[in-house]
Amino acid sequence: MPHKEDRKGPVWLISTTWRRNTTIRWRRYHVSRAMSIHKTSSLRYSDVTPRREYINRRLFLAAGSAVLGALASPFAAGAETKLSGYTKSPFSTDEKPTPYSAVTSYNNYYEFGTGKDEPAKNAKNYRTSPWMLSIGGEVTKPKMLDLDAIMKVAPLEERIYRHRCVEGWSFVIPWIGFPLNALLKQVEPTSKAKYVAFQSYYDPKQMLSSRAAQIQFPYIEGLRLDEAMHPLTLISVGLYGQTLPPQNGAPLRLTVPWKYGYKSIKSLVKIRLVEKQPPTTWNLAWSQAYGFYSNVNPQVDHPTHSQATEERLGSGIFGQHIKTRMFNGYDQVASLYSGMNLRKYY
């Protein structure tokens, strides 16, 4: 038999009362808040319009007729559309590309959730048109480009690149894009420009909060100018012959194949040429694990795992591990780092 006094005040009774009270208080707060909106006339446009839409409208006004052109472009539909007129690049690997379904269902895109399957689900209705990319900073010809202009920066190429994630897995992805240096040359960097800073689109209304993801948004990345100018560094606008799906960083993203995946920033809205090494999101979050350079390097461990091997995803569960190669096998970039201690500059 349980003790009699145990029956008097079970803990869970207190908690239900507390819960009921807080629910009532919560309801009252929201009802009064809703009513006050009706009463006051200080209602702003941004209060009733989703942020994304009024920003889009602003862009619409800014871009004028160019946007009308964009509406007719492949990006207008919202779903992925076929790209054409691209050439095959000699930089492509002959390794077997990872199935499209894997590349588009297993993503790190924390703005849309920290689970690998979340971006594909949560970014479904993410509208990427119209879109504006600004390039400025230490340049003589700063630019604002809409998607149509972006597509015309340079001829599109298909490049099949290895993609190595810092978490220890890898894909082989047929990207479609053009070298970043083609774009940078157009804006004419000044002699002060030493680094390139990149910024992702961020809309807290339709994306996860920084607090939940525990990393800073908008997502920012950076490269040294010579890295950004390297012919391997790509602005990707598509994969597998189609425009980028939202979860892969639509409508345009960076692709730096010799660095860990998080350097290849998604959904680019801003590029700035700067004098000093710019801050980067993962470095701010955990500097011991994520350095500025983040070159793929089998000799430098991540605090939670070795980087000596990687799991090539897409074909099963047994014997999936292969040896990770220095610079992800892109030896042609080695000269960018000659004389540098890559254990120190990880």
């Binding site: 803990v11 897995w169 955990w286 939670t304 795992h305 569960i317």
Partner: protein, 215 residues
């Protein structure tokens, strides 16, 4: 109600229930629905269930008192053993699929990666508990000593939570949730222990003189 808990079939039912996660995992495998990274999927799946079953096992003692169903203790051993079972599946996944039997790489991880060190410790501490889970061992050790040994589950569960907390990259919501549940379960025990002590003290205190004890 008491009769229900004591029925032979409830144990069979619980046994089948505890096999459901494994069945679901196999279903995911057959339907090739294990994300693009099946090794990670299996690792997380088995790890999650190890932790969940550890917490369910630890919830038995508070539930017995709160629901006034002391018979619930009948299920504790099976739950604990299933926690160990999923823990072994978790370890097997790591050894076989993740590390591909590379002993040097595994040893390197155990020594260098604190989340693996603490996870391994948690699982190792479950071994003596699984071995001495039989009635025979309770007799051989004596109930008091057996009980003390089996308090190692507190360490295992805490190690499991810390293991999870240390391995996530940035989103710590889930490990914190497991940690919160474990804290409540352990605080309950602390509270019950203090209550017992106070009661024991009160009982042992002599009746103050000058107070007339009504007959």
């Amino acid at each position: 109600m008491k009769k229900f808990w004591l029925s032979r079939w409830t144990k069979v039912l619980l046994f089948l229930l505890c096999l459901l996660p494994l069945a679901d995992l196999l279903r995911h495998g057959f339907e090739q629905d294990m994300t693009a990274n099946p090794i990670e999927f299996i690792t997380h799946y088995t790890g999650n269930w190890t932790l969940r079953l550890l917490l369910i096992t630890l919830a038995i003692t508070p539930l017995r008192a709160l629901l006034h169903q002391p018979q619930l203790v009948r299920f504790r051993r099976m739950l604990g053993l299933f926690a160990f079972f999923y823990g072994l599946l978790h370890l097997t996944t790591w050894i076989w699929l993740d590390k591909e039997f590379d002993v040097a790489a595994m040893w390197d991880d155990v020594v260098k990666r604190r989340f693996i060190t603490v996870g391994m410790l948690g699982l190792l501490l479950m071994v003596p508990l699984a071995v001495t889970s039989t009635a025979g061992w309770v007799r051989r050790l004596g109930f008091k000593r057996w009980q003390w040994l089996h308090r190692l589950i507190y360490v295992s569960a805490a190690a499991g939570v810390v293991h999870y907390y240390w391995l996530v990259k940035s989103d710590i919501r889930l490990p914190l949730m497991y940690g919160a549940i474990l804290t409540v379960l352990l605080l309950y025990r602390l509270g019950a222990w203090m209550k017992d002590r106070i009661k024991a003290k009160r009982r042992s205190r002599p009746v103050p003189s000058g107070v007339s004890v009504a007959s």
